[in-house]
């Protein structure tokens, strides 16, 4: 294998590219997904499940059957919302990994409205979405403020805020908001009918949240492409020094986009409690790690807002496929996490492939590179290294 690699380095040279064309990025991403699928196939074999049959079952019960498809889309909703927010944050290099906590904060906000306010029935759902968005935004604004004012690393704070949100939900459903009927498991009272989202037919697809998510994706795409705010986010993400010089208020932009991102995640939390559970439940059931999977959604979309839709649908499929594997194929329930982890690893690892390619050396050059003591050339060629620019690199 080493020898093969050496041969390859001798016959090919790595050529960096100025820009990666969209088809190439897509191809590399699909390649990463395909490799993940191969590994999963191997897992099937290892568990003694016939891979062909397993894949057929998964595809049938997540994509082909209407009910299965609705589950795939339903699981994509929180991923869409949290993912589009994270995409925005990542564009400005605000490494928010706190979407999970922001989803929970949104759920708390929505529950507070559903259970403890007396609003006219038609206003309840809008008020829940608003409260959830604000709660999520507030949850995300604290780390952003800490970063803008004191330079505290947002990766740590947003991650830690996830745990605070998790235990806050647990405390609420075991303490002040605990349902009277709850004995074994803890949960809140059931939401009144006007606080429950309509679903599509007999499925669990709460379409109002989906509609909000799609509109939000379109709005973010438009903001990034055409607005002054989008331009400021772009400059800030690529060069904080140049942003300061350009008169961009980094603190304001960071705070704004962190709040936007967290608000979107908060909306996802509203959808989960008002559309699925209809009460505040155990946090690990409320969000099945959507906040973390949304990081992968944003990475898969590679900075392109509209690409969040296929990325979220793909991960929705992974989640739905996980259910199928667990229920129909009796595979361990951790498998979807393995798949998500694999895809994440492969996507990150394949990143360099979008930035260059191997090209064949011309025969003379290859000969010089393979020869042990090149006679024609006074100096052996550096095989496989990117050629430095004529005057660059001082």
């Amino acid at each position: 294998m080493i020898a093969g690699l050496r041969r390859r380095r001798a016959l090919h040279r790595w050529e960096p590219r100025a820009d990666a064309p969209a088809w190439r990025v897509m191809l590399v991403t699909l390649g990463a997904v395909a490799v993940a699928a191969l590994v999963v196939t191997w897992v099937f074999v290892a568990y003694g499940v016939a891979p062909g049959e397993a894949w057929a079952t998964i595809v049938r019960r997540t994509l082909l059957e209407p009910r299965g498809l609705s589950e795939t889309v339903r699981k994509a909703i929180p991923l869409l919302l949290a993912g589009i927010g994270l995409l925005l944050a990542f564009r400005a290099r605000f490494w928010n990994i706190g979407a999970e906590g922001q989803i929970l904060a949104g759920a708390i906000g929505a529950t507070a409205v559903a259970l403890f306010t007396e609003l006219p029935a038609p206003l309840v759902v809008p008020a829940m979405f608003l409260a959830g968005m604000l709660a999520g935004a507030a949850w995300g604004a604290v780390p952003a403020l800490l970063k803008a004012r004191m330079g505290v690393n947002e990766i740590i704070t947003t991650l830690m805020f996830n745990y605070i949100a998790l235990y806050l939900v647990r405390w609420l459903i075991n303490g002040p908001w605990k349902a009277r009927s709850a004995t074994g498991f803890s949960y809140s009272e059931r939401f009144p009918a006007e606080a429950v989202l309509p679903t599509l037919g007999s499925t669990r697809l709460h379409w109002p949240t989906l509609a909000i998510a799609l509109v939000l994706v379109a709005v973010v795409a438009l903001l990034l492409a055409r607005s002054r705010f989008g331009f400021e986010v772009e400059v800030l993400g690529r060069s904080p020094e140049a942003a300061r010089y350009a008169g961009i208020d980094a603190g304001r932009v960071t705070l704004l986009l962190a709040a936007l991102a967290a608000g979107a995640a908060g909306l996802a939390g509203v959808g989960e409690v008002a559309g699925i559970h209809r009460r505040l439940v155990e946090p690990t059931q409320l969000s099945l790690g959507y906040g973390y999977a949304a990081i992968l959604v944003a990475l898969l979309a590679r900075g392109k807002a509209l690409a969040v839709v296929p990325a979220a649908l793909f991960l929705g499929f992974v989640f739905a496929a996980g259910d199928v594997m667990r229920v129909s194929l009796r595979l361990p329930s951790q498998l979807p996490d393995v798949v998500t982890g694999l895809v994440l690893l492969l996507v990150v690892a394949s990143e360099p492939l979008t930035r260059g390619r191997w090209v064949r050396r011309d025969p003379a050059e290859a000969a010089a590179a393979t020869a042990v003591a090149p006679a024609a050339s006074p100096v052996a060629t550096h095989a496989g290294e990117p050629a430095p620019s004529p005057e660059g690199g001082g």
Binding site: A18, D19, R226, S227, R228, F229, G230, F231, E232, E234, V235, R238, S239, E241, A242, R244, Y245, A246, G247, I248, D249, S377, P378, V379, A380, T381, H382, A387, P388, S389, P390, E391, G392, G393, G394
Partner: protein, 520 residues
């Protein structure tokens, strides 16, 4: 050196050829460096000087050609082999670990340094090298506390301790003060007096004239001329060779007629008692009670050694930071002060242009297109902004005309700025900053690292801006530049304006003393 005596060259290059996609970086270069010789390689940026030096140091493999070292064929696969032969390189940008001490950095250059306490065995050698060449260095000092000149000394000592008999210096004076340049030249002279050799890469004619025994001039990768000190070196002759045309031109005598016009003009930039405190240090403010007036049409040069308050002065004028005391007035008003302070944007709107020191990291966003970089500081205003939206078509149209007007060499306006050469990046910045007839222009080291053609274009642009009535503040360590461009020169030392004088009356010696903080 006696030219009659036939000397075997220490290093000899024949027909060195190096091609990159689309560029012939070196086109059959011959070069002979004799023992006891300072050999200057002169050329504009992009002439191939750095590539040639990388070939000599084993960083770049030539496509064709041969090298000999003291009569033996020389093939280099890596810098390590070059070092083993006795070739040392002092690069333009230093490769030192900032958090380590001088001795630790030196130990990194010696693979044979002992694993435990690697620096101890080096100290005697360091002392010996330092004494022999007059290079004073504190081995326990942290590199991050050293001035650029001192860092360069560390690099030189490293190369000398590695046993270099040929020292290659790539643009060594670009970071040095005049006094440090003199000290460097003294070291180099002592070094060649022992029979060693120096290759001195530069585009500064004055230095080449003073230092070099022999000069090889490169243009577009080819040798266009050779001169030797024995025959006499002439600055104009060298400039002609380097640029291919007579560079007398725009920066020449502008006469004193301008002075009268300026005196009648309005004060466009006024600093009153500005104080900027240095963060977390006890040694007092970085900029202390600096007062300065610049009139429309006037170019005021700020001379001074780096670290004497220049960057704070620039930051305050450009709105990158607020002064701790005092005021900055533009056209008689204070843009966005106090609570209404709007930072750099307030200054931009008041008509303050800034050509920043670090053009690739600050001046442009490398990943963004030329078109977007041309709109970088004005994207919040018409014609680029329409409410909260940006009119990208307007940005595109503007970029087309700017690329033409400023002669920016770029494949397209959609090309990322990082793919442009340094000179063209500077043109992008100048186009953006000067195109809107700013009232105040701050230019920091505007020609640092630029070739002669780009330098003279930059000078023309700054003069033209002043001609249109802008007040220009020129911060530069290049005294020749300050004196040839400015109407007045202000010297900063220890955070204070210690002297101001008309540029026509300023003599370099008095300036040098003022820069060193010696009271005039």
């Amino acid at each position: 050196m006696n030219p009659a005596e036939p000397l075997q060259p220490r290093l000899s290059l024949r027909g060195i050829e190096k091609r990159y996609p689309g560029v012939r970086a070196l086109a059959g270069v011959d070069l002979d460096v004799l023992p006891g010789q300072v050999h200057a390689v002169l050329g504009e940026n992009g002439a191939g000087k750095s590539t040639l030096m990388h070939v000599v140091y084993g960083l770049v493999a030539p496509d064709e050609g041969s090298m000999t070292w003291e009569g033996q064929p020389l093939r280099l696969r890596s810098p390590r082999e070059a070092i083993a032969r006795g070739i040392g390189l002092v690069a333009q940008h230093f490769h030192l670990v900032e958090r380590h001490t001088v001795a630790e950095n030196l130990a990194l250059g010696f693979p044979d340094a002992p694993f435990w306490r690697p620096t101890r065995s080096l100290l005697p050698r360091l002392r010996a090298a330092a004494e022999r060449y007059g290079l004073a260095l504190d081995p326990r000092a942290l590199v991050r506390d050293l001035s650029p000149g001192e860092r360069q000394r560390v690099e030189i000592v490293k190369a000398l301790m590695q046993g270099a008999r040929l020292l290659v210096l790539d643009e060594p004076t670009s970071v040095l003060t005049p006094a440090e340049v003199d000290a460097l030249f003294a070291v180099l002279r002592r070094f060649v007096a022992e029979g060693s050799s120096v290759v001195f890469v530069s585009h500064k004619l004055a230095e080449v004239e003073v230092l070099a025994d022999a000069v090889t001039v490169l243009r577009r990768g080819a040798v266009v001329g050779r001169r030797s000190a024995a025959e006499g070196l002439d600055r104009r002759d060298l400039a002609r060779l380097m640029v291919g045309r007579d560079l007398a031109a725009a920066v020449a005598d502008r006469g004193r007629a301008r002075a009268e016009a300026i005196a009648a003009g309005p004060v466009r930039l006024r600093l009153r008692d500005v104080r900027v405190d240095a963060p977390g240090r006890a040694q007092g403010p970085a900029l202390n009670v600096a007062s300065l007036e610049v009139r429309g049409g006037e170019i005021v040069g700020i001379a001074g050694v780096a670290g004497n308050g220049q960057s704070e002065l620039v930051a305050v004028v450009a709105g990158l930071r607020a002064p701790n005391a005092g005021t900055v007035e533009v056209d008689g008003r204070e843009p966005g002060s106090g609570r209404r302070r709007r930072g750099a944007r307030g200054q931009v709107d008041a008509g303050v242009a800034l050509v920043p020191e670090d053009r690739t990291k600050v001046g442009v966003v490398g990943d963004l297109s030329v078109a977007r970089n041309l709109a970088l500081r004005h994207a919040h205003r018409r014609p680029f902004a329409r409410g909260m939206w940006i009119d990208w078509q307007a940005v595109g149209r503007h970029s087309q005309s700017a690329v033409e007007a400023y002669d920016i060499a770029t494949p397209s306006t959609g090309t990322p700025a990082r793919l442009l050469s340094g000179g063209n990046v500077q043109k992008v910045i100048l186009a953006r900053e000067l195109d809107r007839d700013p009232g105040v222009v701050v230019a920091v080291h505007p020609t640092y690292g630029l070739d002669v053609a780009a330098t003279s274009q930059t000078h023309e642009r700054l003069l033209a801006a002043a001609g249109r009535g802008a007040a220009v503040l020129l911060v530069s360590e290049d005294l020749d530049e300050v004196l040839s461009l400015s109407d007045r020169v202000a010297v900063l030392a220890g955070g204070r304006v210690v002297a101001t004088m008309a540029a026509a009356d300023a003599d370099p010696e008095a300036l040098g003393l003022a820069m060193a903080g010696v009271a005039a």
